[in-house]
Each structure stands twice: as C-alpha cells, then as structure tokens.
C-alpha cells in the first residue's frame, strides 16, 4: 500500500506552493496533477517552435518572499523585471508605465503636468494601504462565529491589525473598499488618459467595471507585492524566463529536492473516506494512495462536488458549495507571429512595450464592456491585453519570429443565446485581431497560427470551474473570513485531514500562492502535533 505524509491534489500555483512548503518542512509529499502541464501555467507549442503559456497571459505575480523562502532561483527560476506596460487609448493616444520615477513623471506630464505630481501622493497612498492590507493576507482567517480559543486569538490578531491603524489611515482604507476606481482616481488625477491607463492595468479578470462601488480596491493590486516600493515610478512587470511553465518547473525541482514526489497525468477521482475522515485518494487508473493529510488545490466546487459522494458530506454543504460564485471573464488567444507587431502610436523602442500592451478604451467603455458581460453578450469593445514574451525571451520563438499571448476580458461563460460554438469562437478571435490590427498595421498578415480558448475551454482543460481566474468571484461577500464562506474559512474542512489550499480560500488572488503557503503551515502544525515530524 502506497502511503505518504501528505497528498496535494492539483499542481496549480497554490498546490505547488503548498507541496514545496510542506516538503521543505520535512513532510513526505506527493503531488498529483491531472494534466501533463501545471494548472494555467502549462505551456505548449501554438505552432512548431513557438512556445507559449496556453492559458495564462504570462506575467508572473510570484511574491518575492515565496521565491526567496523556497529558493526558487537555486531551482532554476529566472525572473526578468521590465517596465510596466502600455495602454493604447482612444484617438491614437497612449500612456506607458515606467519604473524610473523621473521618466514616469515625464510620461504623466505629457498629458497633464498636474497628474505628474499627483503620482507621488497616489503612490504613497497605495503603498501605505498595501502595507496595511498585507498582514491580513498572510493570516489564517476563521469563522467569526466559532468560539475556540485559537479562533478568538486569530480574530483578535486580525482586529489588532486594524486597531493599529490610525483614524486617517482607516478612513483612507475604507475609501479603497467602498469607492469606485473612477472616483478614487479622480481624487488624484484629472487626465482621462491617466485614469483609463491605471484602471485598465488592474481590470483584467474583474467582474465589475471601474464605476462599480468598491472597484477602487483593485488599484492596490500592482502595489501589493512587497517589492512594489522598489521603483519610484510604476511597479515593474515581471516575466519568468521560459514562461509560466518554467515557474512551475522550479517549484517541481524544489519539491523533488526536498524529497517530495510529483506525478503528472495522475487524475484523482475520489477521496477515500473512513468515518468522516479522509484517508487517501483513488486515481483514474484505479490506484489507491494513502496519506495523513490531503490538500486540494482544486476550486471549491470541483473539490467538493466531484471528489466526494455527496451523501457522505455534511448536510447543507453541497448546497452551500453550489452557491459559491465562480465566474469566468477571460478568453485566451494564442498567436504565432512572423514578425514582431508594430505599434506606431507608441514611439519606437518604448521599453514599456516589453510589458503588457492593453487596448484599453475609456473608463466608460471598460464599464460598458462588463455590463455586456453581465448580459451574456459577446464582447464588442473588450479590454484586450497582449504580451509578446519572445521580445525578451528569444528562446520562445524561431529567430525573428514571435509569440503573442492575448487575454480578452469581458467574455461570458455562456452566451445569452446559447453555448460557445466554433463559429462564435472564430468571431471572438476575429474581433480581437481586428482591434489589435487597428493599432498595429500589418498585424493580420503576420499571423502564422492562432488558437482561441473561451472560459468553458479553460474549464474543460484545466478543471477551473467557469474558467474563473481567481477561483471564486472576489466581492466582499466572498473575501477574507467569508472566503469561500464563513464556516469553511481557514483552509480546514468538515472532513478530518482534508484541507483546501486553492485560491477559493483566503487570500484568493490577493496574494498569489498565499492560500497554498497558509494551508501548508496549518497542515505542518497538525502533523507536527501528531509527532509525524517536527516542522522546520
């Protein structure tokens, strides 16, 4: 009988993080991944010799802390920091983000000298708010209604983090969680271009537009990473050499180096239960593997609705899990290009083009696009993000040729008049190509190959319910100690020895890998208490 200390189901970013943390702590870890690649990080050849991430855009949001703790550079990870991107705006205008404070200032001054100065105050407020929020993200959340000592202590910890905040700062923080991004930005900036640019950079994957109350908190995203303060200008965009699959490879190397095992093309079909206690897993090939702790990196719905016989679950759980909202908004278009795309609106050689280029539109347009999405309309003027990773990483495409990774946002999971069909996918791809070609002459003629994946495709291939980026819509009712919902916060589940380590749990997408690292800590403590090993 095969037996391990820990089984991690699913090799997404959080599963890999949990497995690496536990292996490093001394546990005998087995990670089981259904596919050949790892989560949305999987890479593939869109055409022979053209390598790119199949599902993700390709920027890295790995926290520096995680890279350092897991020694991922020793395990082969190479991160490149580039300028933070370009928004192509209405009427041939553009705004770019530069890391250098002085260049960034001049870029803002191009449209508004006042906004150039306002950046100083904006950056200060964002960095301060991010610093306040950060301790809450690495904290295990728990159901406020449960009254165990540990729980109360945890809640007090969270309350403490708030209590240490002065009145003015608390006021600032409240504004971020209640105002719309548009209103919040108007407190600092006057230029429509600047506001659209800053909003577009954070709206990818969002289910609400820049005029929705509460959307201001999305603006924090680029500053959440601890190294966000490193540049006086805009925070850097980070790319991994070799793409997201190289990030996954570094995690796997770290797991293996600490004595763990990683198996791909190993689909878990069932959790083996003995009296409300998880004992092991069965694989699609009939294998049974046992462990003292089992972590699921699948989203909440997939975890409970596909791995368990429903009648074995506590009553009410199936219904509650069913109500958890996962909502896909993003389609992925993968393109092989005969030559680098040109963007004549942007001066030649602009280093920010190495980051993400966005077809942004105005704040109004971005808001309307999400209204359309809510009505399940095929997008008309969506927010489009394009990354050409081969500009900095020549190994991804043949000499002189390029790959372009495109995310189209505001794409409904099901259309109002029926499911996605081949023809509708082609229409979507055609829209994206047309919109890009409007700003990039000759673009269409450079396309050598093109693949389109709409949210249900991503769900079918990666098993990410609805193709939801964040593994659960991030509105306040599904965040912090409400994530995924109150009685299930804190990574523990009603099934003994069974933990949720995916982004469906706190902190969700607010801290990439955070859920995996926190769940690993919890499991390490639990195993340590049972004398299985002493956590490092």
């Amino acid at each position: 009988m095969q037996r391990h200390d820990v089984i991690v189901i699913g090799g997404g970013l959080n599963g890999l993080t949990a497995a690496a943390c536990l292996a490093r702590a001394g546990a005998d870890v087995l990670l089981l991944e259904r596919n050949a690649g790892f989560g949305v990080a999987a890479g593939y050849d869109v055409a022979p010799g053209f390598r790119m991430p199949r599902y993700s855009l390709g920027t890295s949001t790995l926290p520096a802390r995680l890279v350092a703790d897991l020694e991922l550079t020793r395990h082969g990870l190479r991160l490149l920091r580039v300028d933070g991107g370009v928004s192509l705006l209405a009427g041939g205008a553009y705004q770019a983000s530069y890391r250098d404070g002085i260049v960034h200032r001049r870029e803002l001054a191009r449209v508004s000298p006042k906004d150039a100065d306002a950046w100083t105050r904006y950056r200060r407020d964002m960095l301060a708010a991010a610093a306040r929020l950060r301790p809450l993200l690495s904290r295990r959340m728990s159901d406020p209604s449960k009254r165990s000592i540990a729980n109360i202590r945890r809640l007090l910890g969270a309350a403490d983090a708030f209590a240490s905040i002065g009145a003015t700062e608390l006021h600032e923080l409240t504004r971020l969680w209640t105002l719309s991004a548009a209103d919040f930005l108007s407190d600092y900036f006057v230029s429509e271009e600047v506001k659209s640019h800053l909003a577009a950079a954070v709206l990818s994957g969002a289910t609400f537009g820049p005029f929705a109350p509460g959307s201001a908190r999305l603006l924090l995203q680029p500053f959440m990473e601890e190294t966000g303060a490193a540049s006086a200008g805009a925070p850097a965009a980070v790319l991994a050499l070799g793409g997201p699959e190289a990030v996954a490879a570094a995690f796997v190397a770290a797991i293996v180096a600490h004595g763990g095992t990683v198996r791909t093309e190993a689909e878990v079909t069932d959790i083996i239960l003995r009296r409300d206690e998880a004992r092991g897993v069965s694989l699609a090939n009939g294998e049974e593997i046992y462990a003292r702790a089992i972590l699921s990196d699948l989203d909440l719905k997939r975890t409970f609705l596909t791995l368990f016989p429903w009648k074995e679950l506590p009553s009410g759980l199936v219904k509650r899990v069913g109500r958890f909202r996962l909502r896909g908004v993003t389609a992925k278009i993968n393109i092989a290009l005969d030559a680098a795309p040109l963007f004549p609106d942007v001066p030649e050689g602009c280093p920010a083009l190495l980051g993400v280029t966005r077809l942004a539109g105005s704040l109004d347009e971005m808001d309307r696009a999400l209204d359309d999405w809510r009505d399940r309309m095929p997008p008309r003027a969506p927010l489009i993000e394009a990354l050409v990773p081969s500009l900095v990483d020549r190994s991804l495409a043949p000499e002189g040729k390029h790959v372009m990774s495109v995310c189209v946002h505001g794409v409904p999971e099901i259309l109002h008049d029926g499911p996605w069909t081949g023809a509708r996918r082609d229409e979507l791809a055609e829209l994206a190509v047309k919109r890009i070609a409007e700003r990039s002459p000759g673009f269409r003629d450079r396309i050598l190959a093109l693949d389109t994946l709409v949210p249900p495709d991503i769900e079918a291939e990666v098993g990410l319910t609805s193709g939801d980026f964040a593994q659960g819509e991030e509105t306040l009712d599904q965040m912090f100690f409400n994530r995924p919902f109150a009685s299930l916060s804190g990574h523990e589940t009603p099934i003994r020895n069974f933990y949720l380590c995916s982004a469906s749990g706190h902190p969700g997408s607010l801290a990439p890998g955070g859920a995996g690292a926190d769940a690993a800590k919890l499991v390490a403590e639990a195993l340590g208490k049972r004398g299985i090993y002493v956590p490092a």
Binding site: E107, R110, K114, A116, D117, A182, V190, G349
Partner: protein, 416 residues
C-alpha cells in the same frame, strides 16, 4: 458617466489644471524625443559647464545632468570659501504664482507670515498639509504686487493647484523658462560689479532686483544656500549661457571657478539645511506617517507663525507644538581629520538616529552630519558616537568616533 463632484464644482478643476502651463520636457524645447529616450536631461548651461569639466564626473539632480565635481573637490571648496564659486542650479523647481489673490493664497499656503514680504524681497517658507506634516520648503520671491515665485527642491505643482482652488490666482510651472546660476563666496559681489551688474553692492541680504547686463535682463537675488555671501541669478534659458561666460571671464582675476553638485552639498551640510527628499520626506512621499515630519521636527519652527490667521495645517501644528517631537533634525560634528562614511548614530548600544547627509568640512577639519535623531537622545544628552568601517587590504577596521551635537549652522562665513 462623468465625475459628478467635478460637474457641480464651482471651479472647473480640469481647466484649472490646464492653466498650469508647464513644459514637460523641461528645457528641451518640446522636443519630439520620447520620454524614455533620455533618462537625464541637459540644462541650458550644460555645454558651458561641460567646457569647465576636467573630471567628466556628472550626477543626476531632479532628472538633469549636473556636474558632480569639475576639478577637485578640495580646490572647489577653497574657491567657495576664499574667492567665489559658480554653479548651475537650473534643476530647481520654480513656480510662478500670480493674480489678484496671490498674496491671500500664499498666506493660506505657507506656514509662516508672508505679509512682510515686499516686492523684490525673498522669504524662506515651509508648507504643510492638514496633518501638519511638511509637504516641502522653498524660497519665496515677490516679483510684483500680485506676482510671486516659489523655488523648491521637489515638484509641488499638484499641491499648489489643489490648494489654489477658490482663489483668483494662476499657478504655473516655470521651471523650464528659467535657468538659474549660483555665485557664492566672499568675492561674489566684486565679481558681479566687475561684470557690470551696476550697483550690486547696494543689494541687501535676502533682497533681489533686476539688472540689465549687456542688454539682457537678469534677476539677481542676494540669497544663498549657505551663509550670507552669495547671489543667485535667474535668467532666460537663451541668455543663461552668455551670462555664465560673462561671469567666468570677469571672475577669473578674482579666482572664480565653476563648481559642481558635491560642493553644493557640502555647503548645505555646513549650513545645516535639510534637503527635501534626502534629509526629510515630503508628506506626499512619506509612506508611513512616522516618516513624515512637522516643521518643529525639522528645526523649522522659525518658519511657522501660529498667531496669524488660518493657514493649511495650522490646527494640527498648534497641537504638535506642545506635543513631544517624534524625531529631531540635528547637526553633529565628528572630529576626525579625514572624510568618513557612516549612517547610524549610536548612543552606547542604542541606535539614536540616522545620518541623512554627511560632509567633510575643510574649514573646520571635521566631519559633519545632518541627522534625524530620536528626541530622547537630545533631552538628556548622552554620549553619541558613529561607527565607520575602513578597509585595509582584506581587513576591516571599525573606528568609533564621538559625535557632538552642534546647535545652529556651523560657524562658517568668509573668514577661514
């Protein structure tokens, strides 16, 4: 959808912002060059300064190339203290504030009393936000009844414009339309006279006026970063080069030399003057309130007048005046005959503060440090010291040297 608050605002905020007529590519005559093409721009005096450089050592000041050292720092220092030192100070930010309510606006904006500022006078000012934290400091010029100029180390256009809402004033960034030259040292007045700045000797300290020199208008202020024996010249960018050459030519017999930014920093430390962005963080840059400062904490109490009418930050400063200081800006002298490098200020085993600027003063034969100290180390003076590490081959030698608090600017001046 548009921002409602803006729509119903009595002032057209967008138009107000537009009224800021700043040239973003300062000095680079609205070039077609994209912003990323050149990280550091050149001032109108760049070619003149380059011609004087024997070292080819440059540094970045506010995004502009300025000379670090042109000949030898000790020589430049001697020139400053015994003859006169010429320097390009164009990268300073300059704002023109004009209009019917300019004086009323500035009375609200600055923490000090500006009512005594006459036309052709200058006044150091500090300005705060509502929490009483210093946003910045600068030198205020009064060019006319309704026209002022504020010269600062860091950009403040956004804060000026936001504060100006409701006042009949216009605020413009004129950094690009004004080059600046500093002439410091005991012989500077004589050099200006020789260069046909007729009657310059009658210019009182802190006063300013227009001169016509070779048919070019030059605004000269008897102001200096350090001490009293200096002038600053404010000229059109097109005329700057000519004026510079004129001064160099007429100054040569007096021992005038062009000098760099390193010397400016030494003179500043000797004068005990804090530089925004280096010795303190403006309220809009300080991420944590703890790293922002009230004027009292910066030793700028003299620039605050709580007894006159309302100004921005007054209420908070009233409270702050009697509250304990969280940190204090101080000057320390370290007796060591060679330049030392150090950051921490220690008191026994405790960390008493941080040195934000350091310099070696050849006049005093000492190291000087501007430092942010925790106040408890000032109240009951304890023995402070610094620790410097020196390398000898592969050995590191740690030298511990006592640091003495100096009150007020170092006794410099024209005498050695």
């Amino acid at each position: 959808m548009s921002d409602d608050t803006d729509l119903h605002h009595p002032v057209d905020l967008a138009a107000l912002a537009d009224s800021a007529r700043a040239d973003p590519a300062l000095f680079e005559s609205r070039s077609v060059e994209p912003v990323f093409a050149r990280r550091v721009l050149a001032t109108p005096l760049h070619m003149n300064v380059a011609a004087e450089s024997r070292t080819n050592l440059w540094t970045d000041w506010n995004g502009y190339t300025v000379a670090e050292v042109l000949s030898d720092i000790e020589d430049e220092y001697r020139v400053l203290r015994h003859a006169a030192a010429l320097a390009d100070i164009s990268p300073l930010f300059k704002y023109r504030i004009s209009g019917r309510e300019a004086a009323a606006f500035l009375a609200r904006f600055a923490a000090g009393d500006i009512s005594a500022l006459r036309v052709d006078g200058t006044l150091p000012v500090v300005f705060c936000e509502d929490r009483g934290f210093v946003v910045g400091d600068g030198l205020l010029f009064r060019l006319g009844d309704d026209e002022y100029r504020l010269v600062t180390e860091e950009p403040h256009l956004a804060w000026l414009l936001d504060s100006a809402i409701g006042f009949a004033v216009q605020v413009e960034d004129v950094s690009s339309t004004l080059a600046a030259i500093s002439l410091q040292g005991p012989l500077s007045a004589r050099i200006l006279s020789a260069a046909n700045f007729a009657g310059v000797e009658t210019l009182a300290p802190h006063a300013a006026r227009w001169f016509d020199v070779a048919a070019q208008p030059v605004y000269v202020s008897r102001t200096a970063l350090s001490g009293d024996a200096g002038y600053e010249l404010w000229v059109d960018p097109e005329d700057a080069s000519h004026i510079w050459s004129l001064l160099l030519a007429h100054g040569a017999p007096f021992g005038l030399a062009a000098t760099g930014f390193a010397l400016r920093e030494i003179a500043r430390v000797e004068a005990g003057r804090a530089r925004a962005g280096r010795d303190y963080f403006g309220a809009f840059s300080a991420v944590e309130p703890e790293s922002a400062s009230t004027p009292f904490e910066l030793g700028l109490a003299g620039l605050v007048d709580l007894d006159r009418g309302h100004f921005t930050g007054r209420n908070a400063l009233r409270a702050a005046k009697s509250a304990p200081l969280r940190h204090t800006f101080s000057m320390l002298a370290i007796d060591w005959p060679e330049p030392l490098s150090f950051i921490g200020i220690h008191a026994g085993a405790d960390m008493a503060g941080v040195a934000t600027s350091t310099a070696f003063s050849w006049s005093l034969g000492k190291n000087l440090a501007l430092a942010m100290l925790k106040p408890e180390f000032l109240d009951k003076p304890r023995k402070l010291h610094i620790e410097a590490e020196m390398r000898h081959g592969f050995e590191v030698r740690r030298v511990i040297v006592p640091a003495r608090l100096v009150s007020g600017p170092a006794p410099m001046g024209p005498k050695p």
